[in-house]
């Protein structure tokens, strides 16, 4: 692999925190690149600060007022002489305006992620759905444009009910969404046509108030689905995307937050499915690549799919960023026979302009990977976040285990309250599903995680929940 630092000395600003900041730092080191990291006051004890100082010295770490203030990032980038910005996930990762500013400001930088045009195109759900339909990629049945006319909306709703009846869905339900909405706001389920009108009116007025837009989307509600995703990578040419297989992210909290991710997405070798699982995986991979090529996709990205109990895949959305769970796909992959793939390093490498250097043929997938998200939360009480101090944290090292965490193991740690309460990611590898599950349970049993909160109560975490869910992994 060609090292980009050979052609030009780059310095990457890491516009993120926590474990992803750590992974980016490590990837930069691996590539021989300089970096500069950020932190905010509540994060000053985070492991990512410790590591940044350790790897890059004091001058590689800047305190900022907020991770969400783009001006802070640019001010530091200019001051530190950074040439590129890695947004991580969350924050600015999928903000095309940020990416555009990176590329269009007077002192231009490289945005390590897709070009802003791609982010804008695929960040818009309607656009994505229309692109998919144009290319014959299956999407959730329903409208693919904002509907403003009541009569038209009602016709679509009617057709959707009849369509589902035809498919043999017992209790068909449709979804009415504010087309400008997102994040679960402005969505309602409609179980029958009689209730449709009042729901429509409600969503429309909500949308008008919130987004100054009356358009709604009307879609089929699909139940009991599995959540799969396809990991894509492409260099700046945008013409030769490759995939790193699929992941299954069906184990989630009630708030639809992922808790366990498994690669590959299905395991037909050891489990029985009601449909041709191998074909589903092949199909969604091929569809995702088709769209990536059409959109000129030029970075890492994830195509998210839902698969119905009858094995029908529907494209949900495209995440134009590196995802939390990228490591689990990397874990089972090898490039030209060489394992220990680092997708973040790959993202930085191609992001800075290096050509891919390999094709799909060179990528092999081997074994099963499981990623656990270890979180301080009360799984018996609506997964409410637990706040307090971690007193001990540790695990026995294993060659099949990789841990990513910003929580220090050598001292106590107050969990910052301003961010998502993710503590650590544990990635386990097994040669097959059975071994991976076995090792997963072994890991969870050997994990030390203790803490105490202000009222002196013991720490609550989701470790037991993860253990419980391990048994049913990949079964559908």
């Amino acid at each position: 692999m060609k090292n980009p630092s050979e052609s030009k000395k780059h310095k990457v600003l890491i516009a993120n925190r926590g474990e992803i900041a750590i992974r980016i730092m490590q990837a930069c080191r691996k590539l021989g690149l300089a970096f500069v990291a950020l932190f905010t006051e509540p994060d000053k004890h985070s492991e990512h600060c410790v590591l940044a100082r350790k790897l890059g010295g004091d001058e590689s770490l800047f305190r900022v007022s907020s991770y969400l203030d783009a001006n802070e990032i640019f001010a530091v980038a200019d001051q530190a002489g950074a040439t590129a910005i890695h947004p991580g996930y969350g924050f600015f990762a999928e903000d095309y305006r940020f990416a555009r500013r990176v590329a269009q400001r007077e002192r231009k930088l490289i945005f390590i992620g897709p070009s802003w045009q791609v982010i804008r195109e695929l960040g818009d759900k309607i656009n994505t759905k229309r692109l998919a339909r144009k290319l014959g990629v299956p999407t959730v049945p329903g409208s693919d444009k904002p509907v403003t006319d009541d009569l038209e909306a009602e016709n679509i709703a009617k057709s959707l009910f009849e369509f589902q009846k035809e498919l043999g869905v017992g209790n068909p339900v449709i979804l009415v969404k504010a087309s400008a909405g997102g994040g679960g706001m402005g969505i309602e389920e409609v179980p029958d046509l009689d209730k449709f009108r009042s729901v429509l009116r409600r969503i429309k007025s909500y949308s008008k108030r919130q987004f100054r837009d009356e358009g709604v989307l009307i879609e089929q509600r699909i139940f009991d689905f599995n959540h799969l995703e396809v990991q894509i990578l492409s260099d700046r040419t945008g013409q030769n995307p490759v995939h790193f297989g699929t992941r299954n992210c069906s184990v989630q909290s009630p708030g639809h937050q992922k808790r366990i991710e498994v690669a590959p997405g299905f395991d037909p070798s050891s489990l029985r499915y009601a449909f041709d699982a191998k074909k589903v995986i092949e199909d969604i991979t091929e569809y995702s690549l088709r769209m990536a090529r059409e959109a000129g996709y030029d970075s890492v990205g994830t195509w998210e799919w839902i698969v119905s109990p009858t094995g029908q895949p529907f494209l949900m959305e495209v995440n134009t960023r590196i995802q939390v769970e990228n490591g689990v796909s990397a874990r089972i992959a090898a490039i030209k026979g060489k394992g220990d793939v680092d997708l973040i390093a790959e993202q930085i490498r191609v992001g800075l302009g290096a050509p891919m250097g390999y094709t799909q043929k060179d990528i092999t997938l081997n074994g099963v990977g499981i990623e656990y998200r270890i979180i301080a939360e009360d799984t018996d009480n609506k997964f409410a976040p637990w706040v307090g101090r971690i007193t001990s944290f540790g695990w026995p090292e294993q060659d099949w285990l990789k841990m990513h965490s910003q929580v220090p193991t050598d001292r106590e740690y107050e969990i910052p309250t301003d961010f998502d309460p993710n503590l650590a990611l544990a990635i386990i590898w097994g040669k097959d599903l059975a071994q991976a599950k076995e090792r997963g349970v072994e890991f969870l049993n050997s994990l030390t995680l203790q803490g105490v909160n202000a009222s002196g109560e013991a720490m609550k975490s989701n470790v037991e929940f993860l253990k419980r869910k391990t048994e049913g992994i990949l079964a559908f």
Binding site: F62, S65, N71, F74, V76, Q79, P385, V387, T417, D418
Partner: protein, 216 residues
């Protein structure tokens, strides 16, 4: 019983507050108040619409943000950053020595005299909606609270929990937090005064009004 005299004596010994002026965000500093001893004033005007003395400008992304003095006082010392240097967010730029005003003396003494309800956890706090409305329309002192009453909503990590008040019943005499700021654990949220002690408290207030002389 509150020993106002003693408290006032204590305050007279150290009648200043040290205000630290920090960079609200990153940027190049351009000092306007360049040396210690410069006198500054806080915001003025009927609606506090006239900002205080310009202390420095902080340039970031081709825009200069003016930093104004929050209170009247005197520049005590400048921070360890030279004019034209890049300051990181939160870095101290200078300190201002501020002579306590009557209101501040009153609030300090009240903090010691009122029954304080402390934040049980770190997070953002809000009053319950009905209390909030009452405070906004009639002022906090119109609200009577009792032990066990649901009083606050605690918001942290995008989730909300209700917090019950515990302590003596009385009226909310003072509110010590802003709804948008994150409150540290154990910092006071409200000061409560039992109705029968209201007279005493008011006496404290009038005592300070007459005894404390304001200075520059």
């Amino acid at each position: 019983m509150i020993d106002v005299k003693e408290l006032l004596r204590e305050l007279r010994e150290e009648p200043y507050e040290k205000i630290s002026i920090r960079a609200p965000h990153s940027g190049k500093v351009e000092f306007v108040a360049k040396e210690p001893g410069v006198r500054v004033v806080g915001p003025s005007g009927t609606w506090k619409e006239v900002p205080g003395t310009l202390l420095a400008r902080l340039e970031r992304e081709n825009v200069k943000k003016p930093l104004h003095a929050p209170q009247k006082g005197e520049v005590m010392s400048l921070g360890e950053i030279a004019n034209g240097q890049f300051a990181q967010a939160g870095q101290e730029l200078m300190t201002i020595r501020h002579y306590l005003t009557r209101e501040e003396v009153i609030s300090r003494i009240l903090r010691r005299s009122l029954s304080l309800f402390l934040a049980p956890e770190k997070g953002k706090y809000y009053f319950f909606p009905d209390v909030d409305i009452k405070i906004k329309t009639k002022g906090s002192q119109s609200v009577h609270i009792e032990d066990g009453m649901e009083l606050f909503i605690l918001s942290r990590m995008k989730r909300e929990a209700s917090i019950r008040y515990s302590g003596p019943s009385g009226i909310i005499y003072a509110v010590y937090f802003d709804t948008n700021d994150s409150v540290e654990r154990n910092s006071p949220l409200i000061g409560v005064c039992p109705e029968d002690q209201l007279g005493q408290i008011q006496e404290v207030v009038s005592r300070v009004q007459s005894d404390w002389e304001e200075r520059d």
